[in-house]
């Protein structure tokens, strides 16, 4: 039996920084260089291109800019004025929050990978592969089991949240298509 006071309730004030921490985990990880190459270079041989510098990676991220065509990574799911034709887009945003009890909550984050109609294929492991599939597999590999300053890890784990899954066919069937997936993490932040 716990006393009912302020310190024994979960706190959510740091949760808005989790997408930033996700991106920091990717940007500072040498194993995630290919992720940014796929996002930046709209070519079949994008994985053969040179690694991006930290500044080049950060330049892909939109930060309240009026013209969205210069960016590829967004922290919102509404990107309706962009020209998708030769672009790879990654959207990261908070999906749902399930408070299991007053100390614990499960947070999920949705990743949308969208590509235009002209760049569906890249060379990966020596064969032509779908760009979205490759990017999805790299993102999950580099984030599954990673600590983003919450309790436990970011997980692609349906036991942690039923929202965890990957879904294809995300697009408008004309200009862009893609894959979305959801990762989950636990939050216990008392005191």
């Amino acid at each position: 039996m716990f006393c009912s006071n302020e310190e024994t309730f979960n706190k959510f004030k740091n949760t808005p920084t989790i997408p930033y921490k996700i991106l920091k985990t990717l940007a500072r990880n040498e194993d995630a260089e290919d992720i940014f190459k796929i996002i930046k270079y709209p070519t079949y041989d994008c994985l053969s291109k040179p690694n991006l510098t930290l500044d080049e990676k950060m330049d892909l991220i939109s930060k309240n800019n009026e013209s969205l065509d210069d960016f590829n990574i967004f922290f919102t799911d509404i990107v309706n004025t962009i020209n998708y034709e030769n672009k790879t887009i990654l959207k990261i945003n908070e999906w749902d929050t399930i408070p299991t009890d007053r100390y614990h909550a499960t947070l999920t984050y949705k990743f949308d990978i969208l590509i235009g109609t002209n760049i569906p294929t890249i060379e990966y492991m020596g064969v032509p592969c779908n760009r979205c599939s490759v990017l999805k597999s790299m993102l999950i590999d580099n984030l599954n089991g990673k600590n983003v300053d919450t309790v436990g890890y970011l997980e692609f784990n349906r036991q942690l949240s039923v929202s965890c899954k990957s879904l294809g066919g995300v697009g408008n069937s004309q200009e862009f298509t893609g894959i979305s997936f959801v990762l989950a993490t636990n939050l216990v932040n008392i005191g």
Partner: protein, 409 residues
Amino acid sequence: MADYYKNYLQNIAQTPKEKYLSDANAFIDAQWENTYLLCDIEEESYLGSGIYNNVEAIKRTITEYSVNVIKDESDSRTLLFKSNNHDVERGRKYKFNDNEWLVYNPTNEEEVYSEVFVRRCNNHIKWFDSELNQIFQEPCSMGEELGSPTPKINKDIIVQNGRVVLMVQGNEKTRRIKKNQRFIIDGMPYRLVAYNNYMDNSYIVDDANLLWFYCYADIEQTSDDIENNIANLYEYNYSINIINNQDKQISNYSDTLRADIMLNGEKTDKIVEWESNEFATIDNYGNYTLTGNSGDVAVFTAKFGRDIATTQVEIVSSIDNTFIKIEPMIYDIKDGGKVDIVANVYNNDTKLSDEVFVTSGDTNYCTVTSNGNNSFTLTSLKSKTELITITFTNGSIIKEIQIKLSPLY
């Protein structure tokens, strides 16, 4: 005889085109004074110069040049020049009748005379260029196309569903204007929704000399300076922070000043222009040398747009100059990043072998690791809004620097 004829053909004879143009110009010359429409006007020396020269012209009125604009015959004029070689491009400005005028119909080679059509600039636009930190103003010819008078309904208030068309000169300033730029014209906000900038002057000069801005009525924002008609002015607060490690030094001393341009409290990568008074010299990179004598005060000014900041160094005859020098000098570290530095004690230009100790003001955010020989690695663990103080000590000599632990983006 043959030489005489050859000379005649080369230097005196005219082609039919030359003869015709020459005769036409001679006629204009002869009749030039024979009109009450002759007047002196001011002509922009070249497009965008802002420098005006006096020129004579025959000024006449013409009817309006397009439909769906407020018709006022005094807003349109034609200017005829004396020489048929007086070429004027579209977009050049004139001043007369206490107004500024824009050329929308330039001279052309098919006409035997040089004549342009000009439109009066009936207003002006002012805007704040957030990249250059400058307020610009440009005269414009403003017409209004009113479609349906039905108000446009949005979530907050109802605004007029009208489009305003602005015609402005295409120059260095106006070509920087982007879509969604807002203007406040006589207290009424407008948003630039689209513009026509593709009527190039020629295939050689492929910039458009005349721009048409299509603006819609917009709602006021808290960052607008309504009184001075400058939209979004208060959204951008620039300031300049000069880092000067010396307050007193001897003559001929050289060092480097650094200036950070802050926008709304965040450091930007913009650079300042440096100036100094007569007691020092300074280059574009902030490298200065004190040239004055003992007792003089060298004053340095950093400028960016409409903001300036100053700092000074007093020139003294001698100085006990033992200090800690940090190389390279660091001012920010990105989240998760590391920087290697060396900190040594100097007496004037002589490096001493004294040991330097370094501590971080908050080890939860930034750690310091000693690598020996006064070499250190600073590591940013996470970003922080406030600056972190790093302290370097050697006995009684203390040097503190403040660094920003900035986020990755």
